[in-house]
Symmetry: none
Subunit: 285 residues, 2 copies
DNA sequence: ATGGCGCTATCAGCATATCGAATAGATCCT
DNA sequence: AGGATCTATTCGATATGCTGATAGCGCCAT
């Protein structure tokens, strides 16, 4: 029997093939470009065959490399399964997580998907409300964790800043109307306060044409050209366009995101999700 | 995704479980006992779980270790397949291998099985004859390789020593008969010469009650209690028992095993099998 | 034609991971 | 009690893999 393959080399090989270049694979596997280059050379030396064709702009697998790629993926997957079998978390149970609905729509799905991968036995119940309502629901003990936007003067451990932008319909110029037609989230919402504060500071007169807790309602009004609105940049759907100072609108301050924790919810599952969210949100800031 | 597993550690883990101890696994993976000890510690640290239970004389997997063992074996097998896919030898063709029939019965099957795994496209034709006959067949060009027992004064590169023992029926005491009834292989055979030489040196009178090239014939005579015989220890079937100096029989010298090569057989396939046999026979000495 | 960009390959120096040999400690057996 | 067998640990050597810098090549825009 030959020496077993080095799965780290295989992981890099897969990343190179999937990204199409050594340089782009490097951050993916947490190595420098030169390390990746040498790893691939080493792998080819070990197996005694060329696996990759280096073009001027892209790197592609040759025929042997394509065969090998299938095995590489199978081995890495099986390695993951082996990990899971031996490090299988024993945490079960539910976590009630509160989150504003714009985050539920755009920020959370990949996060929760990754958490579920690592913690297949933990159930996450999602409650979508505005941040102020979440604070209240948590205080009443009906939530374990809540992702919230910080209100002025509210003590909150901020784990992330989120850009906050004006959005308008791509086919209308609602911002040229006076007073400015604005669609706002419910009173008490940090996003609403950000908008009003900016308009107040800029001495810009406005008219509130729509007020709702619903992100989708806001998007519909803006898309119809009836108003502009302030949204977290990450929440901006493709049907709207970002506008700003070029259109004579005042700059909007960033939103500050934090995680609140119910002190009475002390299960390992809550602990895990809390840690996971903290790390993930901070990483992707 | 976690870092991929180190398959070298898994290989060691499998060897430890299969041999039942760290010390016995060490030569199997080509490492010292201390390296094996540290590897297992490292593996357990990495996965965050104990996998092995260390007893005073044996090491066994715990429940988690048994789960992991299954994955370890699958990963190592898949790694072998990946190797084969990328280093698939293109050697095809046949190799005519001559071997004495006691080796054919007991020594060769696992060897050839392993060779076939690594060289699925090579066909091995097996010719079973006594060593002296094999030497002749090879010289006539009808064999490519031959495993033979060295005759006195024969130049042969010995790759292996094989213990040679007296065998008798478990239900009879044929060795107490005078003159000693002996079943022998054909004249010219090294095993036969070993027996006669030992008896001559011990000045023990004997009677040849059976002479044959057939291992099975010898076994039948001995099993019936009609004679004793000298066999390579590895060839001794369960139906016979090993006897020796305790029964008043002279010690038998080891058999010397070597591989002969037809100089005109220079194909890559012959080369491969030759190398493979050399390595394998020497390793299991 | 030239310069800039994007990419891989290579080199030198450094950090660290792994190894073997020696030894300590524990258990078992005679 | 002594010897054998086993695992764990320590220490020093060294092999290995890494990063950062740079050379070389091809492509593209001016």
């Amino acid at each position: 029997m030959a020496a077993p393959l080095d799965l780290n080399l295989l992981k890099t090989f897969v990343a190179v093939v999937e990204t199409g270049s050594l340089s782009n694979a490097a951050p993916r596997v947490g190595r420098s470009q030169s390390a990746v280059s040498m790893q691939m050379q080493r792998l080819e030396d070990m197996v005694g065959n060329q696996l990759l064709v280096r073009g001027p702009r892209t790197v592609t697998p040759n025929a042997i490399g394509e065969d090998f790629l299938i095995y590489a993926r199978r081995l890495l997957k099986l390695s993951d399964e082996a990990w899971a079998s031996v490090t299988r978390p024993k945490e079960t149970g539910s976590v009630r997580l509160g989150v504003p609905d714009d985050y539920a729509a755009f920020l959370l799905p990949p996060v929760l998907s990754r958490f579920a991968e690592d913690h297949p036995l933990v159930t996450v119940e999602l409650v979508c409300e505005q941040s102020t309502a979440l604070v209240k629901t948590l205080a009443e003990g009906r939530l374990d964790l809540a992702i919230v936007t910080r209100l002025p003067e509210q003590p909150l451990d901020v784990v992330r800043l989120e850009r906050f932008v004006w959005v308008a319909s791509p086919n209308h110029v609602a911002w040229q109307t006076n007073p400015l037609p604005v669609a706002l989230f419910e009173p008490g919402c940090a996003a609403r306060m950000n908008v009003l504060q900016a308009l107040g500071s800029a001495d810009r007169s406005y008219r509130c044409t729509y007020s709702s807790a619903s992100l989708l309602g806001l998007v519909a009004v803006v898309q119809a050209g009836l108003a502009v609105a302030g949204l977290a940049q990450r929440s901006v759907p493709p049907s709207l366009r970002v506008v700003g100072v070029n259109e004579g609108l005042p700059a909007l301050p960033d939103l500050e995101i934090g995680i609140l924790r119910n002190p009475l919810s002390a299960t390992p599952a809550v602990e895990r999700l809390n840690d996971f969210l903290r790390r993930d949100l901070a990483q992707r800031a």
